[in-house]
Symmetry: C2
Subunit: 243 residues, 2 copies
Amino acid sequence: MIRLFVPDDLAAGRPIALSVTQAHYLRDVMRRSSGDEVALFNGRHGEWLAALGLVERKAVTVVPRTRARAQAPTADLELVIALVKRARLETIVEKATELGVRRIRLAITRFTQAERTNVERLAAIAMEAAEQTGRLDVPEIVAPAKLDAILADWPPDRALIFCDEAGDATPILGALAAFLRPDALAASILIGPEGGFSPEERAHIRSLAPVIPVSLGPRILRADTAAIAALSLWQAALGDWRP
Amino acid sequence: MIRLFVPDDLAAGRPIALSVTQAHYLRDVMRRSSGDEVALFNGRHGEWLAALGLVERKAVTVVPRTRARAQAPTADLELVIALVKRARLETIVEKATELGVRRIRLAITRFTQAERTNVERLAAIAMEAAEQTGRLDVPEIVAPAKLDAILADWPPDRALIFCDEAGDATPILGALAAFLRPDALAASILIGPEGGFSPEERAHIRSLAPVIPVSLGPRILRADTAAIAALSLWQAALGDWRP
């Protein structure tokens, strides 16, 4: 079953005009025609089964028929990731979407080499990954900001799970189990660039009240590996991978 | 510090001729010269600090000086991964190396579309990832074989952690904690292709005595995400990420 994200409201019988990209995909790539069924979601109204209506050269409409799943809230889990090279950043966005984050913040740190990225392209990757993974929403991609700005006025009730390479942090699984209760807290997972954080950055991060420094084992991990590992651990210990 | 894998024996004062690729990397890319220090490992004799000796146009020698780390055994953790598309397979090999697997077996299953891959290229990726991540060995890449052949005569004392998308498996963290004791068992993690396993394959896998079917949550994960997540969980719950 093809799943498509649409920005429109979803209601039975109310036709929706698909984007040019989606119309092209359904008509020319997947060879769908009038009457075929797809699934739609918009982040607000659950998942709907819908039938293709008009399939024309430049326009495809779909008509929602029945709601298949009710909208459910996504855990308030956020990834704060230093700007890393484009291919790895795209991997991280795809994987973080599969792993159920609500939001991805891009951070400019002392050792990041870029100050910008194509946020629209990352948002498109998140949308496609959300369609494939079966989510009912698409994570928000927040444009790059300096780490200091992101950490300023950090909410006291938002846990900052700091993946700290320096070696004296608590192993992640025990740290998550000891410091957090399932569903009790909003949490952000913070991953540095390939060169790590500067000593000043590290001291500042560790001085914040809701910080939980965690270790991801004895080997050096690339940023994308660290992000996927930490998000998986969070979902398994505290999120929707639990029984 | 640059780390290099070499096949040679490592002993104080015994010069080693680097490969053409490594010589080019040190001389032309990293601009190293005679007397500079690098680290060497070979999977048998720990990690050695070594000094560059001759740096010539086509040949670079290194001389081990002191042993910095003793060889330690790698956990008997294996990844059995269905052949997936090249880019994702390469990601999996890099990440599995960072996550400390001893061996990667490539499996041909009902829904894999390829029957071959460039094993030498995957081995080169594993070697580079081992150099970067700080391991003392390089995981073995086993050439593709049919899943049936891999599962035939499966050792009764090797746990087969089957990442099962079908939905009724136990959540992975509880399953690992309930069924395995740290360091007590050899374990393999089995990940299917993007199309999943066929019903016959799934029934056969689940009929094996040492199988532990596990669930990786409610969303559909790509093969690379599933592999990284399962390996991370294993290391955190049972491996060298523990306190």
